[in-house]
Each structure stands twice: as C-alpha cells, then as structure tokens.
C-alpha cells in the first residue's frame, strides 16, 4: 500500500469516526426538535441532553481533525472543494456555531422562554450541518467539483443526488442517535424511553434505508462509474450496511428485554454507517474528485508530508484512543453528568432552591402515547414526498 492510499484510509477512518460519534450528536438535536412541547418532551430531552453533554465537544474535534488531514494531505482537492462548495460549507458552519452555542448556553439559563429559544436554536441547527455536509459529499461523489475551481458552483450541490445525500445524512444521524439513545435508556432501565426511541429507530431506519437506496438509484444516472463500482467491488460493504441495518431493527424489536443485546445494537448500527462510508471510499478509490485527474497521489502533498500524517495518526491512536476510552468508560458508569451546580443549585438542602423550569426534573413526565407514532408517520411522509418528487422530476 502506498503512503497516499494509507493517508486516504486514515482520512476515511477519521471521517467515519466523526460520522458515528459526532453525527449522533446532531441526530440528538433532531429528536430534541421532534420531542414535542415542554411537558411531553421533557423525558426524551433530558436523556438526549445527558447523553450528549459530556461527549459532544470531544466528538466534534474529529471534524477539525478531518479538515486538517484533508488540507494537509490533499491540498489541491481541499482548495477545490472549499471554493466550489463554499455556500453549503458556510451554511454547515453556521449550523456548527449555532448548535454548539445553543446547546452550551441552554444548560446555563433558567428562564423557560430562554431555554425554549436556545433549545430550538440547538435543534434546528443540528439539521443544518449534516444536511449541508451531505450535499457537499454528494457534490464530490457526482463529480461536480472541478479540479481547479475558481468560483462557487451552486448546481454542484443542488443536484438531486446531492440533495438526497443531504437528507440521507440527516436521516442517518437521526438513526444513529435513536439507536444510541435506545441503548442508553435500556442501560438505565428506563423502559418508557427505550420504547420511545425504539420507535424512532424504526422510523429513522426505514427513512435512512429508503434514502440510501434512492441516492444509489440517483447515482446510476449522475455518476454511472461510481454506481457500477458500488454495485461491483464495493458490493460486500453495501450488503454489510444493509444487513447491519436489518440486524439493528431486529435486535431492538425482538431482543427487547435483553439489555446486553440492546446496548450492543449500537455497535452494529455504527458498523452499518461505517460500511456505507467505506463503500463509498472503496468505490471511488483511488480518485479523490471524480471526473477530474485529482487522485490520492496527485493532490498536491509531497511524500514526506504523507509519512508525517501517518505518524500523526499513530500518535492520535496511542494518545487519543485511551483518552476516549476513559471518557466513554466514565460516561458509561455514569460518573460524568452535569449536576445541580449550574442550575440554581437545586436540591441543595437549605439553599434558595428554585426548580429549573422546563428542564428535565424529577417530575414524572406525562408523555402521550401517540407522540412516537405521529413522529414516525411524519418522518415517513416527509421522506416519501422527497423521494416521489425526485422520481417525478426524473421522469419529466
């Protein structure tokens, strides 16, 4: 394996880690958005908030790491993508800023209206980032990024494939988040939330699966070469992705009472998403920007830089790997969570306590049983409408 191919694999591995770790945090925003009013959404919002809080910043660093590897190892491709797809990248960035600050600030305010506003900011912007990132990936996959792009190209990321990829990213983030949250609820022994998020896994799984197939079908016309490789040498990975998706649905539904299997489904879901990403990578190898001469070896970095990146990745695995393991282990033992210190020191005996309004509190939440199925229907209708519109457009 050449150094360039190794660095390509490193970049893909880092992207995968961002997708399965950071992506789920964005998905949490999606479910926060769909959780309903203050009362009904209290329990799911609380679970989402507690699951994301200690880890989202560390997960987010993968994005920065991805960007750095991309521009260091493949500077020409990086400059082309950043120029041609400037608009969706700006919008994805807007999502990142609003999501992070909205989420961080929401914890610290105690007035209900402010919490609602910041929560809405966090939730809506959680959709922006995956969607626009997806359109950029779609633009790359369809070969819409010219090698020496000097101007932003709007058609590049507004093609049906790119838009479908955007929706797929949102769906996949929601799917991952729902699986993780189901596992988290199961670990806490919270049956109600386990059922709640299992329904969402089913809905998001169906939507994401349908969107994957629709994107694949679109690629048949927009980039036949990539399509034939996805159904050729990358086919095993595509099949694995599909099997993982089915396995997760089956596990969560059938092995309802088996806590180990339910929490283990998270690994399978992550594997499924990773298989999709690697399927794309394998299908595209060794081309970096389809439709151009920019390959892994011809993207502007000298051999010494590529070797340095390999060492950097080794250092990252050795240094950051154990640190992440510690973080997730502590989180798994529930040794990490935001306590009352920030929220008016509620619960301190004798203190001037004021229950944090609107935020998850000890009060049992009164969830209406129909809310989950309604979200499922809404999600399906939305996805169906998108797919139908695209099919009609292609026919016409």
């Amino acid at each position: 394996m050449t150094a360039a191919a190794a660095v390509g694999a490193i970049l893909l591995a880092s992207v995968t880690l961002y997708a399965i770790l950071g992506g789920a945090d964005f998905g949490g925003g999606l479910w926060d958005l769909l959780a309903g009013g203050d009362q009904r959404g209290r329990a799911p919002r609380r679970l989402i908030d507690e699951s994301i809080t200690p880890v989202w910043e560390a997960n987010h660093v993968w994005l920065v790491f991805d960007l750095v590897i991309f521009w260091t190892a493949f500077p020409h491709a990086f400059a082309a993508v950043m120029t041609a797809a400037a608009l969706p990248l700006w919008l994805a960035l807007l999502g990142i800023v609003l999501r992070g600050t909205g989420f961080a600030f929401r914890k610290e305010v105690s007035r209900l209206s402010l919490q609602r506003f910041l929560g809405a900011t966090f939730a809506f912007s959680s959709l922006l980032t995956p969607f626009f990132m997806g359109t950029v990936i779609g633009a790359i996959a369809t070969g819409s990024i010219p090698a020496s792009a000097s101007h932003a190209s709007q058609p590049a990321w507004t093609s049906p494939t790119s838009l479908l990829a955007g929706f797929l990213f949102v769906g996949a983030c929601g799917y991952l988040a729902a699986v993780y949250l189901t596992g988290e609820a199961a670990r806490r022994g919270d049956r109600r939330m386990q059922a709640y998020f299992t329904r969402r896994v089913q809905a998001a799984g169906i939507v994401a699966g349908a969107l994957s197939l629709a994107t694949l079908a679109e690629l048949h016309t927009s980039n036949p070469a990539l399509f034939s490789r996805l159904t050729g040498r990358a086919l095993p990975l595509v099949i694995i992705a599909g099997l993982c998706g089915l396995a997760v649905l089956a596990l969560l539904t059938a092995a309802w009472h088996n806590r180990v299997l339910v929490t283990g489904a998270r690994v399978i879901a992550a594997l499924g998403v990773a298989a999709v990403i690697w399927g794309w990578g394998v299908a595209q190898y060794p081309v970096l920007l389809p439709g151009t001469a920019v390959t892994l070896t011809h993207a502007g970095a000298p051999h010494t830089t590529l070797v340095a990146i390999i060492w950097l990745f080794v250092a990252a695995v050795l240094l950051v790997g154990p640190a992440f393991a510690l973080l997730f282990a502590l989180q798994g033992r529930r040794l990490l969570y935001a306590d009352d210190a920030g929220l008016a020191l509620a619960g301190v005996p004798g203190g001037a306590t004021r229950p944090p309004a609107g935020r998850p509190s000890q009060q049992p939440a009164s969830g209406s049983p129909g809310s989950g199925s309604r979200a499922v229907v809404l999600g399906l209708v939305a996805a169906g409408a998108i797919v139908r519109a695209l099919i009609r457009r292609r026919d016409g």
Binding site: A301, P302, Y337
Partner: protein, 470 residues
C-alpha cells in the same frame, strides 16, 4: 485618507475579495483569540484554586474552582465552535494559501488536533466529574487540560510564526517536494512567538479573573471569597508580566533582524539610518509624524544597545511590499507596550505592599487598576496581534505568497462578513450575559451556603438529590 487610498488601490490591484476576506478573518480571529487565551490558561488557574483548596482544605478556593470550571465549560464550548470557524475559513477564505502551502502548514495544525482532542476529552471528565471522582483524582484529570492547552497553543503559533519565517520545506515549480516537520514547527520565529503568546494567554486570563473580583471589591464586596478570587488570578499574571516584557523586547529585536519592514512600521523608521529616534505615539501621514513624542537615539539603543546602531527602514522595499497602514501598526505597538508597563506597575505596587505590610494595597486606585487590568490585558494582546498580522502585509507567507494571491476568488465575502459580524456580536453578548447570569446566581447562593465539592461529605439529603437526578 491614506487608508482609503490604500484600500482602493488594493481592491483595484487584486480584485474585490481580499479586503473583506481579511476583515472577516480579523473579526473571527480577533474574537476567537480571547477565548483561545482563556482556553489555554484558565484551566491552570482553576487547577491552582483546586490545588490550594485540596491542599490547605480551603473551602473558598474549592468553591471558586468549581464555579470557575463552569464558566470555563461555557468559554471552551464557545471557543471550540469559533475555532472550527477558523478551520473552515482557512479553506473558504484562503484557498490559495492552502493549495500552495497546505501540505506544510497543515502538519502543526495536525499536531494541534491531537492536543485539542485531549483538551476536549479531559475538560469533559473534569467538568462533569466534580464530586463523583475522588478529590485528587479529579485534580489530576484537569492536569492534561492545562498541559495540552500549552502544547496546542504552541502548535497553532508554530503555524503563525511559520507564516512570518517560512522554512523547513523544498519546492520546485510551485509544488512542495519535501517537508521537514521539525523545522516547520520550530521555525525561526517560533522561538519568540510561542512564549510571547502563551505568556499573553496567562496574563489575559489572570488579569481578567482578577478584574472581575476587583470590580466586586470596589462595589463593597470585601470578603474572603472576593480577595481569594482576585489573588488567584492576579498573582500568576503579575508574576509573569516582567517575563513577558523581557520576551517581548527580545522578540522586537529579532523582528528588527528577521522582518525589518515590519519593525520599521512598528517604530516609524522611514529611511535606513543610524541614531534612529524612538517615537511614542504619533500618526504618520504624508511623510510626517504628527503629535508624536520623540526620544532621540532610543530606537537604535533598543535595537543594538548603542546609538550608532543601524536600523533598516521601509525604504528598502518598494511601496507595494510595505504594510498598508503604518500608523495603525505603530499605535498598536505603543498601546501594547504601554499597557504591558501599566500592568507591571500594578504588580509591583502589590508586591511592594505585600513585602512591607503583608497585605494588598488598600488604595482605591489600586483596585481600579485591578478592575481594568483584564480589559487592558485583552486590548494589549489584540494590539500585539494586529502588529504581527498587519505588519506582515502584503504577505500572507512572508516574501513567498501575497495575501491577495491567497484570497478566495469567490464573490460574496461581503455577505458572509456581514453575517459573521452580526452573529459574533450576538455570540459575544450572549457569552457575557451567560457569565453574568452565573455570577448572579452564585451571589444569591453565597459562598458559605454553596456545597463544597471536597469539603465536608454531602449530607444524606444531598446524596439523595444527586441520585434522583440520575
């Protein structure tokens, strides 16, 4: 007048995007750099408080450490996203720079990525581990934050200093052919830029913390809580100030040698000559310096310790290769140095009082000085950053690549600039409001009533409250 001419000339020469792109980079970096300083140094000060709290069973210090870590959490979260904005902007605003030199300057950024990971991970553990991890174990989970903050800062400054003193690579025909990571990282300017910026981060954070509590003391909150908070910020910052002045002086002398045109702009040296005077203040326009205070021979003395030292002027390069707004560079330099000495004075005053009377100065003037010291340190740091960035113009990579050639060719930077200014204004205001909200909440609770993290064991009620919140 001159600025307008230069701006118009720059636009005419290079297309329309470089000026808004620079303005946007300046806005986002100028905002982020404050948060970056707090991200680098705040963990150390929080750990200092926790250390004193644990070692001496000082409950006030422990309460401060716990509360500061909450503020730190907010600031690091905002810093993480504004830092990401900069990563994107490297490509969105400066694709020409990344295309040419991404393979070189990306490596220190990659190293920075490692430390950013460690910082984010251990911040989470530290922040959410209060009371759940045993006291000293909790303290040690914070140490990697402080350490990786310093190394991360070194990595980012490696990039900036490399742009000032590029080296460590070979190129042929516009393509990089080999890179030596070590020489890129420890380039010639890194030796002085790294300590200068890291010390600046500690001064900004220390004086900012001290300023908050000095303001409280001025308002009559003269209790142990406020004095402890003030001292924990003020002492480290004041101790580091003389070192910073020494490093800054060394850096200026190195710049006189490495980047003579930048130095000439800092000191108003129009023509290469000996016995060069030092100008304090003053505005340079049309070949004249207005309203400046002239100290004869001083600049030559500072550069080479003798009045006969030759100082290179900006006449050595054609006008197109000189920085655009000389007076801005000079005034920023003067403000930075002036504020540095003001902060030194504050530290000396406190040290004298402590030496003679074992107390902090009771004079209202001292506390006024303390209250503004945070703002002063931030202004000084921003001014220094203007000096180094504007002073490097028109180059983005010194003598190798012009800023104009690095800028994006996409239209519409004006639109993103407008959005960024509006968004960051809201973001800045919101961050300050949130911090004030926290402060107000803490004041309501009072230092004595607050639960002490590692003080007396929490009562059964408290434990129960903790458990039900799971």
């Amino acid at each position: 007048m001159r600025f307008a001419e230069v701006a118009v000339a720059a636009v005419a020469r290079t297309g329309t995007e470089v000026v808004p792109a620079r303005a946007q980079m300046a806005t986002t970096l100028g905002f982020h750099i404050i948060l970056a300083c707090l991200g680098i140094a705040f963990p150390t000060i929080v750990l200092l408080a926790e250390f004193i709290g644990l070692r001496r069973s000082n409950e006030v210090a422990l309460v401060l450490a716990r509360r500061w870590s909450l503020a730190m959490g907010v600031l690091i979260a905002v810093g993480a996203v504004t830092g990401t904005v900069l990563s994107f902007e490297m490509g969105l605003l400066w694709p020409g720079l990344m295309r040419r030199y991404g393979a070189v300057l990306g490596l220190p950024f990659g190293i920075e990525g490692l430390f950013f990971f460690l910082e984010a991970i251990f911040t989470a553990i530290y922040l959410y581990g209060w009371r759940r991890l045993p006291g000293w174990a909790h303290f040690w989970t914070g140490v990697p934050i402080a350490v990786s903050g310093i190394f991360g800062a070194m990595s980012v400054i490696a990039v900036n200093s490399w742009m000032n003193q590029p080296g460590g690579f070979t190129a042929s025909g516009g393509r990089i052919t080999s890179v030596n990571t070590w020489e890129v990282f420890f380039n010639h300017a890194a030796i002085y830029e790294m300590p200068h910026m890291i010390l600046a981060a500690y001064m900004v954070t220390g004086f900012a913390v001290a300023g908050v509590y000095a303001a409280g003391i001025l308002r009559g909150r003269r209790d142990r809580y406020h004095y402890t908070g003030f001292a924990l910020g003020f002492v480290p910052a004041a101790v580091l100030t003389p070192f910073q002045i020494f490093v800054g002086d060394t850096a200026a002398r190195a710049i006189a040698h490495d980047q003579p045109v930048k130095f000439a702009s800092m000191e108003y040296v129009a023509r290469t000559s000996r016995q060069v005077p030092e100008w304090l203040g003053g505005v340079y326009a049309n070949g004249h310096i207005y309203a400046g205070l002239k100290i004869p021979y001083m600049d030559s003395l500072l550069v080479g310790f003798g009045p006969g030292t030759k100082v290179t002027g900006w006449d050595t390069v054609p006008p197109a290769e000189r920085p655009p707004v000389v007076w801005l560079i000079h005034l920023c330099f003067d403000v930075m140095v002036g504020l540095g000495f003001l902060l030194l004075l504050a530290g000396l005053w406190a040290a004298y009082e402590w030496w003679r009377r074992r107390r902090l100065p009771p004079q209202r003037l001292f506390w006024l000085l303390g209250a503004v010291s945070g703002v002063a340190a931030i202004v000084a740091m921003e001014c220094g950053w203007v000096v180094t960035e504007v002073g490097r113009q028109p180059w983005v990579v010194y003598r190798l690549l012009t800023t104009a050639a690095a800028a994006t060719t996409n239209g519409g930077v004006i639109a993103s600039l407008t959005l960024v200014i509006a968004l960051y204004a809201v973001l800045g205001a919101a961050t300050i409001l949130i911090l004030r909200l926290l402060a107000r909440r803490w004041r309501r609770t009072g230092a004595q009533e607050a639960t002490v993290p590692y003080g007396p064991p929490p009562g059964p009620q408290d434990q129960a409250a903790g458990r039900t919140r799971l």
